[in-house]
């Protein structure tokens, strides 16, 4: 019987079912690696911004406003005489930071709400979900403006705003997941094993309900960045003159018409590539999850 103890992977645990999807995961890996590489490069560039550029984030070159790329300024300067290349680099800090922090906050709050609502059910579920409904139905920009007007416009408030916009989706997602998981035998097994409610929530439901969250979160980081850009465009973004891609684009967008592409195209491309990085990562994770589900 000795061989029985070690018989695991070689054992036929399942009939060889549909095998398609095998090649999907190869592209999924390409997506994930590409996305992660893009983000890594951007993160490194952001951290090393002082090494990569000779101008500061908000340093003004009085002699050069709106100068074309070349000379002392790699990508030219903006209307304030600030170096575009430096600002594009520095902006990554704020953009990545806000997006990731906002999504992390949204995930935390949303997951907790969804966990409790989904497991407890009953009136608590009803109440929590209605609150979530209210927040989700509330228009993003009005919420953002309200937060900004109430708390002033700062980085933390932007994080709160974007988190508030996104948290409901996680609450729903986790709640739905928990409601499914709750009916699975392993939860009953935990109950009959004498686990406490918090133990079940924390040790069993939480780790398992995070599976879809892990897939959505990177995509969400991309959307958060776009939301941030939109807020900047409406003048609700980071405080001036901090470098942020969305703010740079919206300031420079009008310049494109006059042929001064360099004020908005570089931050636009940076934003595009960064969001794309998140999207690729998310798409890859999603694909992998889908392939697993099939």
């Amino acid at each position: 019987m000795a061989d029985l103890r070690t018989s695991g992977p070689t054992e036929a645990t399942d009939p060889p079912g549909p095998v398609a999807g095998a090649r999907d995961s190869r592209f999924a890996r390409v997506l994930i690696i590409t996305g992660a590489a893009i983000l890594a490069v951007i993160a490194v560039a952001a951290l090393c911004a002082p090494l990569l550029s000779s101008w500061g984030e908000t340093e003004i070159d009085p002699a050069a406003t709106l100068t074309a790329p070349g000379g002392g300024h790699l990508l030219g300067t903006d209307g304030n005489g600030m170096d575009i290349w430096s600002r594009v680099l520095y902006a990554a800090r704020l953009d990545l930071g806000i997006a990731v922090a906002a999504v992390a906050l949204a995930v935390t709050v949303g997951t907790l709400l969804g966990l409790v609502a989904g497991y407890r059910g009953g009136w608590l579920d009803d109440v929590l979900m209605r609150v979530v409904d209210i927040f989700q139905a509330f228009p993003t920009f009005i919420l953002a403006l309200a937060v900004a007007a109430l708390l002033g416009n700062g980085t933390v408030n932007l994080i709160i705003t974007i988190a508030a916009v996104n948290a409901p989706a996680y609450a729903r997602l986790v709640r739905a997941e928990v409601r499914t998981l709750r009916e699975l035998p392993f939860v009953d097994a935990a109950v009959t094993s004498g686990a406490s409610t918090t133990g079940i929530l924390w040790r069993h439901l939480l780790p398992n309900s995070l599976t879809p969250v892990r897939v959505i979160a990177p995509l969400n980081c991309g959307w958060a960045m776009l939301t941030l850009a939109g807020l900047s465009f409406l003048g609700l973004g980071v405080s001036i003159p901090a470098a942020e891609w969305g703010a740079m684009i919206s300031l420079g967008a009008a310049d494109v018409v006059g042929g001064r592409w360099w004020t908005s195209v570089p931050p636009g491309l940076a934003l595009l590539v960064c969001v794309l990085g998140f999207s690729l990562l998310g798409e890859g994770l999603q694909e992998r999850a889908d392939a697993k589900r099939r």
Binding site: I60, N153, I240, A253, V256, V257, G258
Partner: protein, 552 residues
């Protein structure tokens, strides 16, 4: 309350990218009690040619007007401009030539829809004689009853006009008396030199016959009707208004007076994005763009088919420091900031050099301007010395400006950067119009950028609005006993030389107290298609469309 106001972005073509946000800042321009005609040095460009034609003129503005009801609501740039052209204003500024340009002559108020507006010997009773044959769109003739009803309504509204009338001693409806069908008397409580100017912006008339049809017990002034239906009887009638989108004006055939509308049809379309306005102007889809950014204007000067109407202006851009709020309650900190502002850099970077440096809180083209005692130049060493004198190595403050006013935002950035070098750390705080209005009324903004133009080109007027205690535009909360005294004195001082001496003293005091940092005086610019002619530079920033033509 003999005070008037500074025009906000009124004459600034540098309307921001986002028209929606823009308006609030410009609201300050409204209630001028008069206007100055300071632009003696307007620079003519590309001599306009072409006579009146039948071609529809297309104008782009940044936002739709908030309301058609001038009495109760409606307080934005687009609205005010339209009011000037669709209400029958019984008297208005005349036109005078300044160089090659035509400008509104604020010193010369002439009857338009009225035949005359003259005082009696006491200067307290003013008689308004109406022109006969002025017709509203309804066909009703403009009569004294309309004037009376309109003024009653204005008093009832307790808003714009009611407020302004107090400055010339008109406080209640019974001071407006109908003499006959075409004569109305205004009985002022006291004589005023500003009556003509005040009445020029207040004597607009509703079609009361039509209005009364829509008045109800709960709405005796037909507010609902006028909120939705444009007034009629001015130089133009509103032929069609698509809410939020477009307004079509057609010349009022019922106007029998001088200077009738030259262009029969004008289309005003709302294009919030400045870059879109520029594209459309370049493509010839619009003739006049009222909301183009400063930088685009520099470009457009070189663009084919487009000319930029340009003129020097008395519009000031200043930073008001609250003398009662820390840290700027310390005069040395104020001096430090005044030395830290990079004046030339701002003129170059923000205005492309198209602005004048000013060496006094009194505008350059205002009689009495004297730069002699003004010590403030961009000098970081002196700024640091001033900080040392204040005994502070660093101070922190917020710098408030109008959110989405690109011009102010840029100035703020430049100021922040330089001020930081002397230890003044500024947090840039853009505020939306409602919040800005509220905070200004509370006078607790330590540092704010303001821009605007006085409508009466006189230092006495300026003191009244900006430097005496409690004045509306005195956001600095500034007060100085000597200034108060000079202000009192100036009421009775008529001799120009004596006034000049007073003003010199005023400027010395202001230079010592530094409630303001005067950043610069930007010039006025308006890009139009080449074939647009007849532009009359409006000193109140509100275009008189009747003079305009565009040859086909």
């Amino acid at each position: 309350m003999a005070r008037s106001h500074r025009a906000g972005g009124a004459s600034s073509p540098a309307l921001s990218r986002r028209g929606v946000l823009q308006l609030g800042g410009s609201v300050a321009l409204l209630l001028a009690t008069g206007a100055c005609a300071a632009n003696s040095e307007s620079k003519p460009r590309d001599g306009a040619s072409g006579g009146p034609t039948a071609k529809a003129l297309r104008i782009a503005v940044s936002s739709y007007l908030s309301s058609w009801d001038q009495d109760f609501v409606g307080f934005d740039l687009t609205a005010l401009m339209l009011y000037k052209n669709v209400f029958p204003y019984l008297i208005d500024y005349g036109v005078t030539a300044a160089g090659d340009s035509q400008i509104l002559d604020t010193q010369n108020v002439t009857p338009t829809f009225a035949e005359s507006f003259e005082p009696d010997a006491t200067q307290r009773v003013w008689t308004l004689k109406l022109r006969r044959g002025v017709k509203f769109a309804s066909g009703n003739e403009l009569t004294a009853a309309d004037v009376k009803w309109s003024k009653d309504r204005a008093f009832a509204a307790q808003a714009n006009v009611a407020g302004i009338y107090r400055t010339i001693g008109l406080t209640g409806p019974d001071q407006v008396k109908v003499v006959d069908d075409h004569t109305v008397e205004f009985h002022q409580a006291f004589p005023s030199a500003l009556t003509r100017q005040i009445q020029a912006i207040s004597l607009y008339v509703f079609d009361s016959t039509e209005a009364k049809k829509h008045a109800t017990a709960s709405d005796p002034w037909a507010k609902e009707w006028f909120a939705k239906n444009p007034p009629t009887g001015g130089y133009y009638n509103v032929a069609k208004a698509t809410q939020g989108q477009e307004i079509e004006l057609s010349a009022n055939p019922g106007y029998p007076g001088p200077d009738p509308a030259k262009t029969p049809t004008i289309r005003i379309s709302v294009v919030p994005a400045a870059s879109n306005q520029r594209l459309q102007l370049q493509a010839g889809d619009i003739d006049i763009a009222l909301g183009i950014s400063q930088r685009d204007i520099q470009d457009l000067k070189k663009a084919p088919g487009i000319k930029v109407i340009s003129a020097a202006s008395n519009r000031q851009v200043t930073i008001q420091m609250s003398v009662t709020t820390a840290p700027f309650n310390d005069v040395n900190v104020r001096k430090a900031l005044a030395h830290a502002v990079p004046y030339e850099q701002i003129i170059n970077n923000v205005y492309g050099g198209d602005a004048r440096a000013a060496k006094s809180p009194v505008p350059l083209d205002m009689p009495g301007y004297d730069a002699a005692g003004y010590p403030f130049t961009h000098d970081l060493d002196q700024a640091k010395a001033a900080m040392a004198a204040a005994g502070r190595s660093t101070v922190d403050s917020e710098l408030v400006f109008e959110s989405d006013n690109e011009e102010q935002q840029k100035i703020a950035v430049q100021v922040q950067s330089e001020a930081a070098k002397v230890g003044i750390n500024l947090k840039l705080t853009p505020l939306d119009p409602a919040t800005l209005g509220e905070r200004r009324s509370k006078k607790n903004v330590p540092l704010q950028i303001t821009s605007g133009q006085l409508w009466v080109n006189d230092v006495e007027y300026m003191l009244a609005t900006s430097f005496v205690k409690g004045a509306n535009l005195n956001y600095s909360n500034y007060s100085n006993p000597e200034i108060e005294k000079i202000y009192e004195q100036s009421h009775t001082t008529v001799d120009q030389a004596a006034r000049g001496r007073l003003w010199k003293r005023v400027q010395e005091i202001l230079a010592a107290d530094v409630p303001w940092v005067v950043v610069c005086q930007p010039n006025f610019n308006l890009p139009v298609r080449d074939d647009v002619a007849g532009w009359v530079q409006p000193m109140d920033g509100l275009a008189r469309l009747r003079y305009l033509t565009a040859s086909a």
